[in-house]
Symmetry: D2
Subunit: 147 residues, 4 copies
């Protein structure tokens, strides 16, 4: 494992995080960058080897994390409201390896109270590695947080 790169990512995250959308600590630690266009969000990030599973590629749980982040941020950016994930399903179609990755999120259906979203994670060759769909509750100011 590249421990120097890991420590640099960690210390950079400690210096730059804020507990907000896009800048919360794990987003900074994993090096996520956010690019919105119309109602699509693309997150790009470097593949650090401290994200690996015991087999030697990006842990599926890390992929699930990024997919969840992408869908949640697209909802927040589009609706100007936070959302709560009710459920998410991820399908692992190929191992994620290489140097960088790209996650693209879209709405399946944008409702007022409930939203359905999808996101896909691609490696640096443009190959699909993980596909996700999810269901969200849109939080209105008065809403309690729990579903």
């Amino acid at each position: 494992m590249d421990e120097i790169a890991a420590r640099r990512a960690f210390e950079d995250a400690l210096l730059s995080y804020k507990p907000q959308f896009e800048t919360f600590f794990l987003s900074k630690l994993f090096g996520l960058s956010y690019h919105y266009a119309d109602e699509t969000l693309t997150i790009a990030f470097p593949i650090h080897d401290f994200l690996f599973n015991p087999q030697g590629w990006v842990h599926g749980g890390v992929s699930a994390f990024v997919l969840d982040v992408a869908m949640g941020h697209l909802l927040w950016h589009t609706l100007k409201a936070s959302g709560s994930t009710l459920e998410m399903k991820t399908q692992y179609v190929a191992p994620l390896k290489g140097t960088t990755a790209r996650c693209v999120a879209n709405f399946i259906r944008k409702g007022k109270g409930i939203c359905f979203l999808e996101a896909r994670l691609f490696d640096d060759q443009g190959q699909l590695t993980v596909a996700a769909t999810s269901t969200w509750k849109v939080n209105r100011p008065k809403d309690a947080v729990a579903p």
Copy 2:
């Protein structure tokens, strides 16, 4: 955020990780401990605030990571073979807060080539916060990794 605790967790992980089941870097960083009994695995871990989402509780992607780890390790420990997650679904029934959490994984059905598993994540009050089910391909030595 408790930056001292975060840095301690990070440095401890750097000192103790090995790229293997149970001891890979993110497992160490998140402080996961593994307890097997019969065909059940319980993972206990402390709730560090560097795992939080912008709203101030454990990020759903972190929960998904731990649930995935729990099911994968139970499969590995029981079958003496690694598995590949084909898919996982998580349902978020309540925010995960508090000081510690506990994740319990079981088999739905243990097949030779395909396994179905489930796992649940509880807070320190014993309340269910996230429920997951998943489908796994059992890797045999000759198998290619990708499904």
Copy 3:
């Protein structure tokens, strides 16, 4: 295929259906019977061979139908309100064959606006054949139907 039994099931359904919970046409055609106890619903039904897939056992879509019916009726019976399925996931762990089947539904978490449920389908030997989880929106009188 037992065409006499199929026609009898069809004509019986035509005579007895009402467009209501428990008695709607497909519920009658498939011969579903409903047994509530506490917050659990068990549906029993005969395995007609007109429900078969081309391979010769109960079609997975029929199993999904019964699991959906079970969870929706349990919600309705418990909350005294109809619900809309936001999503459902089914896992097919074994083919459903034999003469009768039994589907058992429970709450994972019973919320006011959102409910999480699970259901399992067993054959006449008590073997698990299909497992499902789902997320529901509780319809209040004023609610529009669509999510």
Copy 4:
């Protein structure tokens, strides 16, 4: 309910079914027609009111059935082999009403042993009503049926 139309659909199915792909009894009863192009399958079908839920539109379990049929037939037509559904997730984004419907299935990833598919169900206005993803095991002649 249009009982004359229901009985006609039933008697037509009894006369024309064969226990094979495309022509099995429920496929005939529901009036499914199959149109393959490249690696896409579109199933068209009339919306009979005997398919309705107690609320008065197509039962979600019927939609799940058609989505499952579409993905299974696309796999069979493309790979010249039958498949077993390991799991399927359906998201219900709007009620299915109207006179006809159309279900479109595609591969997410076509593997040798495992396939990932998706399908979407549209009403006669072209509106998306249900979206599904699934995971399949490809059955080779020697394979046992159960996963």
